[in-house]
Symmetry: C2
Subunit: 325 residues, 2 copies
């Protein structure tokens, strides 16, 4: 049972499935489970309070798996940015060979990683950003559609159109992100021209995801309509699970634009450290994608990955081959 693509070749993993960076969720337990299932998981660097803590988390992951895994480094413009160079050094010194970058102007980081033999996959939400990253020398692209949890960008182009448009222009391996959670999505992504998929929300609804059961239950209960786009008026759109707070933010924005200060208190992340512990899905906002509509259970990571790959094989060899025979 295997699906081989340029992604599995490039990164030396068994399955064309990634679990990219997720703040507060990308920790050793989940990433090791993903690696052991034959997919490519990423620790999230900034989930760790310091570069030293990240080095320890990398070591802790290694105790749980001997398979490849990576680290995500998301670069956000900030008044007081985190010590990116030190996080970068911790990643390289820990011997990590795969990094997912995301966000704002990654050139300096890409150069440094490449100089140390690290393969870089860059996550972005627009074809022009993918091409820019390709020119910067990254090894692969993770292109993220409108369906996704977190930041979909401001163009609102879903994967059905974004993936083939990108595939026509991007030459390096590319995986698709946003809206993926089952075998049907994986085969669709491969048909549209991607070399695999990234899943975020779907991996959050697994036994090993280090988040409170209440969030997992909410993702199972919510349907595809259970998300909101907030911060649109701030040009920093985020897709979050719909709850009373997200609806309040939407109402404030609809009433004529909002300043960040107007909503900052409201949006304190329920999935932040406190939220993770309290499990209060109605307090603050937390990210979830439209793929909630396709999440009906909370399996182990291995059960999930095995199911997706075996069903995808059956879909290709059975349903699709049958239609053309």
């Amino acid at each position: 049972m295997a699906i081989k693509t340029r992604f599995t070749e490039l990164f030396g993993v068994e399955h064309p499935i990634a679990q990219g960076g997720m703040q507060w969720v990308g920790k050793a337990e989940l990433v090791a489970a993903v690696a052991n299932a034959g997919a490519l998981g990423f620790l999230t660097a900034l989930t760790q309070p310091t570069p030293e803590a990240l080095a320890k988390e990398i070591a802790r992951t290694r105790e749980m798996t001997d398979k490849p895994f990576g680290v995500n480094l998301t670069i956000l413009p900030a008044m007081t940015p985190p010590p990116y160079a030190e996080y970068r050094a911790a990643i390289i010194e820990s011997g990590i060979k795969i990094v997912e970058t995301a966000g704002y102007k990654p050139q300096e980081h890409v150069d440094h990683f490449k100089a140390h033999g690290v393969k870089v996959i860059h996550k972005c939400t627009a074809v022009r950003h993918a091409l820019s990253a390709e020119r910067m020398g990254v090894d692969a692209i993770s292109i993220d559609g409108f369906e996704c949890a977190g930041h979909p960008g401001e163009d609102d182009i879903p994967g059905l159109v974004l993936i083939p448009v990108a595939a026509d222009k991007v030459k390096i391996p590319m995986i698709a992100s946003g809206g993926f959670g089952d075998a049907r999505g994986l085969v669709a992504a491969l048909a549209l021209g991607a070399d695999g998929v990234n899943m975020g929300t779907r991996f959050c609804a697994t036994r090993e995801a280090p988040i409170h059961e209440n969030f997992k239950r909410a993702m199972v209960e919510n349907d595809e309509r259970g998300t909101d786009l907030i911060f649109r008026t701030l040009h920093n759109t985020a897709r979050v699970a719909r709850n009373a707070i997200s609806q309040q933010v939407v109402a404030i924005e609809r009433a004529g634009g909002a300043k960040f200060e107007d909503v900052a208190e409201l949006v304190k992340g329920a999935r932040g450290r406190e939220g993770l512990e309290s499990g209060d899905v109605d307090h603050g906002v937390w990210t979830a994608g439209m793929v909630q509509g396709l999440i009906h259970d909370v399996p182990t990571v291995r059960e999930l990955v095995d199911r997706i790959v075996s069903e995808a094989e059956a879909l290709i060899r059975g349903r699709l081959a049958g239609m053309v025979s």
Copy 2:
């Protein structure tokens, strides 16, 4: 060369591709070309000024093809509705055996068509509406995602998520609409659980589409970002090609909601009768979907359909089969 699905079986056509109702575009020339290419085209009833004119257009189409084709009847709430019962009678008396319904409360129409042995495919934008139509007794569903031209509804669920969620619940044959224009999209739709695709914008950019060359050229030139959503504040969202007028409407709506009267003069359809003749793509608004980003030429309908089907077969037997072998 053929792809057989429940759609091709149900409607007795060669290929799992439909050209659903498009106001001002769904005329004999296009529909006959689609039928002759082995796909399923639909005349648009309300494009004809009277039921008598529709009967003549059906007869005119029959002169150009002996293959099956259908008629679209879109039901919109209106102060002075068109004489729907008379259009319906013209369709039935002309011997049409396939109808596409769309819009508001189609029960009466569905009942009447079914009583006269007409197969009905109902187009809708939400899973709950698809299930409601299934309960009404329609024979098939055309489910329309956020990517589409015209009216995507208010839920904003793209096909990548909408199609598999619908496929899990809808039992009758279902085709997918919105964002489709090439073989990759067709195979993705089949993988996601649909029995075929509907294409609108893509069929407008063919030699036989009865619209001014300027619109076809604009669809080739526009990329996937070249659309706007208007009338969102009126809860009657429409996706149109981006131009100076659509941007003005968006600005009026952003500035705090708009009444229809505020924008009615602006949005006079460039693709209405006058627009079709003048070819002025900057006058008024005209519908186009995100699939513009995948349209690079203006082939004949037959070239388009043959290309999609043969490339889809190659994609299934080649790329996808190769990944699992």
